[in-house]
Symmetry: C2
Subunit: 234 residues, 2 copies
Amino acid sequence: MNKYTKQTRILTAVDCIIFGFDGTELKLLLIKRAFEPQKGNWSLMGGFVQATENFDEAAKRVLKQLTGLDGVYLEQLYAFGAIDRDPLERTISIAYFALIDIHKYQTQISEEYHAEWMPVKQVPALIFDHPQMIKMAKAKLQYKAALHPILFELLPDKFTLPQLQSLYEGVYDTEFDKRNFSRKVLSTGLLIKQKEKEKASSKKGAFFYKLNKRSYKANFQAFLNIIPNAHKLK
Amino acid sequence: MNKYTKQTRILTAVDCIIFGFDGTELKLLLIKRAFEPQKGNWSLMGGFVQATENFDEAAKRVLKQLTGLDGVYLEQLYAFGAIDRDPLERTISIAYFALIDIHKYQTQISEEYHAEWMPVKQVPALIFDHPQMIKMAKAKLQYKAALHPILFELLPDKFTLPQLQSLYEGVYDTEFDKRNFSRKVLSTGLLIKQKEKEKASSKKGAFFYKLNKRSYKANFQAFLNIIPNAHKLK
DNA sequence: CCAAAAGTGTTGCATTTACACCCATGA
DNA sequence: TCATGGGTGTAAATGCAACACTTTTGG
């Protein structure tokens, strides 16, 4: 057998769009690029795909390198292949988006990257085609969260209905009726009410819920209908 | 500036999952691979990404090479990057799926590839990870067609409601009530009734419809609800 | 004239929305 | 005691699924 001798070989990277939710706002974890070109400018966390790893492994590695976290929700978003997207040498990028519980994130680990959580509504200027990647990731998150219970990945193990609602409201940049919201969410059977309340953010306190993981896995692919008028989404 | 001297560069290909509909069955256009490894075995149409083109351009080129067609619906599916997916040398593949009007397809052009339309329900053994690509493409087609009017891409300019219904039934491998189906489809405002009838497949004849292209483009991203119980889809 | 496919309407049920008041508690 | 946020129920409208008969015409 011959090798494919005459073909072009291309640098291949992964980039991670990392979402977090701090209880109020949807955020993205961005870093300051550590090497040329564009050293010091804001960027998504990324890295070259090594000869020994596939894309998922590369993305997991890159994510762990920045956050210290394993077992995070990670999904391939899109392959970006513009010829000149990296001015130094052609580099294609397989973009992944990650949803992490922001509370599990340990600042120290990523100090060397000068990482910061930025509100998705106010992302700074970014290198290369990273703004396009973020735009696509936001669109996909909205699209997917309208149908699947994906947003639970952004919450801690225990969370309250008001917290969950404010997450949905953040993702869709709108407000929902809390009576309808709680009825819909509870009717999915995905939530288990706890006995304890979260007392920090109100006097009465709101009951904690946990995700029913069995049901979550079983129903992940089933279409939900939590977002009012989802069929009218752009 | 330095180049990224120490990094691995990888062969990069595109592969096209090409769907067509012959009026009865959903089909895939497959070829017999023309070179080693696996020469002579069934395969998706593919090709290496050239230094001068991005992924979309490469996919368009590959598709045109096989079918002679331009302006076809083409969408990136997924990037496949397993280390050993090509046994000869690591080659990543950006898979695209295409929806073409099978009537526009000219057999002659692709004779050198020994291309054949195969029913999606009876695809032969295929090389590499192509079975996985096809599986994913079928799933995405079902997923997307439940929400967006994508299946019109598989039909000729003029088509009848019974034809359209049988296409949907083929994609979902099920049957729909024709009264509900026609009401739903017509209520989208996407169809323009023609004066002529298609007389070949019935005595009474069925009216032709054309797609309202303006409305199609405007509404493409809006969620539709043509499939009964779409929210219960697996 | 009859077989075969096209075309069309209604009703009941389920889902979804809109909407307002009481509850618990810390300060 | 009162201000703040949590929690709950109902009624009206809409959307959806189920269902059967008439029309056309080529053979």
